[in-house]
């Protein structure tokens, strides 16, 4: 039976008992539907439940409650060796006592594929990850990047319907990691296999994924496309975790469709913004989030809606951008300005104690639930 979804988690709970004897919900009522052919990422810091969720899909752990479905079939206590998914491990877990070719052939042998067929498919898999000629090497004789490729080839040679990747690039240096990100993404598009990718690196998730599940404390905080997650975070955690955000506090004064007017006591003024939740009520205390690059520095003495004066604390030149830290009525904000003009002239920098005017645009001013 085929299903619209490659993998589905329905209300999955995984309880662990800590060494102190306390019960801990490593995964806490998680539901997600991963579409066929999708590059899906689970993103979060360590202990957020992303790896445990992946391990439950692979079959290394069984859910305490709820159910994992692979291609529409409930998995129950199906062992890993009977699931049509394959895993690329963070440590690669290449068998040190076997050659590269034997590592890749292992999964096919287990399926009972014939010797000639194995040889052919191992050759093709090595070609796919550009390691032709390395058949007889041992894993220890390969570089980190090459080992990573062998791990990918070993999993993909079995033509799984879903490939699970547990922080596969974590051990590589930055430059190699960027290269492998693009390579993995290209591979996924070329093969059309569903990838479920676990990472704590938000940039990695944003670059590679079709959709991302941002996780924290065992719960899915938001499940959406990278653009939606960055531009329209569903709560304060996501706004804070993904990219940078400035936060202001206020109370809702009035609500309309796609617009909320929030009174900010510190400014003694109103800000108009986008409501990120549907169940706000008038008078509710909320958090306002604005990304540093979305605050504009306006002409001085400009007056009007969303314009506020602020005092420059310091400004930092980082090449492509300048980061300006300001004090706006006692609130510390970070403003990012692209260096479209040459900054060679020292007077083009903002100096300490300079008063500048900031513009908050309603579509970039996000009104979030306060928790």
């Amino acid at each position: 039976m085929t299903s619209e979804f490659a993998v589905e988690l329905r209300d999955v709970v995984k309880k662990f008992v800590t060494p102190e004897g306390n019960e801990l919900n490593a995964v806490d009522h998680v539901s997600m539907q991963i579409k066929n052919g999708e590059f899906f990422s689970m993103l979060g810091s360590s202990g957020c439940g992303k790896t445990t969720s992946l391990r439950m899909i692979a079959g290394f752990e069984w859910p305490t409650e709820g159910e994992v479905y692979i291609e529409g079939r409930a998995m129950g206590h199906t062992p890993p060796f009977q699931r049509k998914v394959n895993t690329v491990f963070q440590s690669y877990a290449l068998f040190q006592h076997m050659t590269v070719a034997q590592n890749i052939a292992f999964g096919l042998e287990m399926e009972g594929v014939g010797e000639d067929e194995i040889k052919k498919r191992v050759g093709r898999a090595l070609e796919m990850v550009q390691l032709t000629g390395m058949e007889r090497r041992r894993p220890k004789q390969l570089s980190g990047g090459q080992q990573q490729r062998v791990a990918v080839a070993r999993a993909l040679v079995k033509t799984p319907s879903v490939l699970l990747l547990d922080e596969p690039l974590g051990a590589l240096d930055l430059k190699l990691r960027k290269e492998m990100q693009l390579e993995l993404k290209a591979l996924q598009q070329q093969l059309g296999i569903t990838f479920i990718y676990v990472t704590h690196d938000q940039e990695e998730a944003l670059t590679m994924s079709d959709r991302i599940a941002v996780m924290s404390k065992g719960k899915v905080q938001q499940l959406a496309t990278p653009v939606e997650i960055y531009e329209r975070p569903s709560n304060k955690f996501v706004a804070d975790f993904i990219g940078e955000s400035n936060f202001l506090e206020g109370t809702i004064k009035s609500l309309a469709r796609d617009e909320a007017v929030v009174f900010v006591p510190a400014l003694n003024a109103e800000l108009r913004g986008m409501p990120m939740s549907s169940d706000f009520v008038n008078g509710e205390a909320v958090a306002i989030s604005v990304r540093p690059e979305k605050i504009r520095i306006a002409e001085n003495n400009a007056k009007g809606d969303g314009l506020f004066e602020a005092k420059v604390l310091t400004s930092v030149y980082i090449g492509s951008d300048t980061h300006v830290y300001v004090d706006m009525a006692g609130i510390r904000l970070k403003v990012m300005e692209q260096n479209r003009i040459s900054r060679l002239d020292p007077s083009s920098f903002y100096t300490k104690d300079q008063i500048i005017t900031l513009l908050f645009m309603p579509e970039n001013t996000l009104v979030l639930k306060k928790d």
């Binding site: 692979a58 079959g59 290394f60 062992p79 890993p80 060796f81 998914v85 394959n86 895993t87 491990f89 963070q90 440590s91 877990a93 290449l94 068998f95 040190q96 006592h97 050659t99 292992f106 999964g107 287990m110 399926e111 007889r136 090497r137 041992r138 220890k140 004789q141 070993r154 999993a155 079995k158």
Partner: protein, 298 residues
């Protein structure tokens, strides 16, 4: 530069250690060629070959084997051959069984949590730290009590009677070998990442295939070290064997002890030399095997 490199103290210590470790062995080997039958002093090598053994008092003047007279003497000694056979039979059997049990115990202790785990772990150290003689007496008492009771209960007589022999020696060797094997294998398992097993299962191998194709080959060096340690312990065990052997189960250490109580001929030295040579070759072989395993194969 290493500040201790040419320190006279280091050189003195080295000379000291090597002298006390190897001088006795060298002397032992030298005396196996002794012309003197009494073997109290070294009276030169046996100088000549001849049809028959020619003696001059307690000195061997000539022998069919020349300087190797005592080795030939040894080869003709049926008791030694039997003792060597017993020793090896016991060592091989006990090592095989103890290695299997010890490896299984190490795996269980590494991967499962159970109520009596701290006790199980501790109980491994007890046979190692208690004096061997205590354990020997304990095992002997156990066997004689149990055998007495069983012989009575089932009316066993004659050859059917349960008695001390090769069986009891083997069982007691297994008993003291298991903790050593377990501890050595456990040390090897310390760094064992369970993701290797998960990877195997992920690729379609069931539990048994995973063990056979991945876990066992990976822990094999540890298992072999444990087995070798157990084997050497069994080869030269005296105390426990002394208490648990019976008629027909004399091992080499027991036999040598018996010889020493009568007269020390250079035959004992010849026997020891052969023994050392076998152990030496075994160790070299193992080293070679392990280095071949560690070296990258092109």
């Amino acid at each position: 530069m290493n500040p201790f490199k040419r320190s006279p103290f280091v050189i003195a210590a080295a000379v000291f250690v090597y002298t006390f470790l190897y001088a006795p062995i060298l002397i032992l080997i030298l005396y196996s060629f002794n012309a003197s039958r009494t073997n109290v002093t070294f009276d030169g090598f046996i100088p000549a070959f001849s049809e028959r053994v020619e003696m001059d008092g307690s000195l061997v003047k000539a022998s069919p084997c020349g300087p190797f007279h005592w080795y030939c003497d040894l080869a003709k000694n049926d008791d030694v051959i039997e003792a060597a056979g017993n020793t090896l039979t016991i060592a091989f059997t006990a090592t095989l069984i103890a290695t299997i049990i010890g490896t299984m115990a190490a795996l269980a202790l590494q991967r499962y949590d159970f109520k009596i785990k701290p006790f199980s772990q501790l109980s491994l150290y007890i046979p190692i730290v208690i004096p061997e003689i205590v354990m020997g007496i304990g095992i002997l008492t156990l066997f004689s009590q149990a055998f007495g009771w069983l012989n009575n209960a089932f009316n066993l007589t004659g050859d059917a009677r349960l008695a001390l022999g090769i069986g009891t020696v083997t069982v007691s060797h297994i008993a003291f070998m298991v903790p050593f094997v377990t501890l050595v294998v456990q040390a090897r398992l310390q760094g064992f990442d369970k993701s290797f097993e998960e990877a195997a299962m992920d690729l379609g191998a069931n539990e048994w295939t995973t063990f056979r194709r991945v876990t066992f080959p990976m822990i094999l060096p540890g298992v072999l070290s444990g087995a070798l340690l157990a084997f050497t312990l069994s080869l030269d065990d005296f105390v426990i064997t002394f208490f648990t052997n019976g008629p027909g189960s004399t091992t080499l250490p027991i036999y040598v002890y018996g010889l020493l109580r009568r007269i020390i001929t250079p035959q004992v030295n010849a026997l020891s030399t052969v023994w050392i040579l076998i152990v030496f070759i075994a160790v070299l072989l193992l080293q070679w095997l392990q280095s071949r395993e560690a070296k990258p194969a092109h």
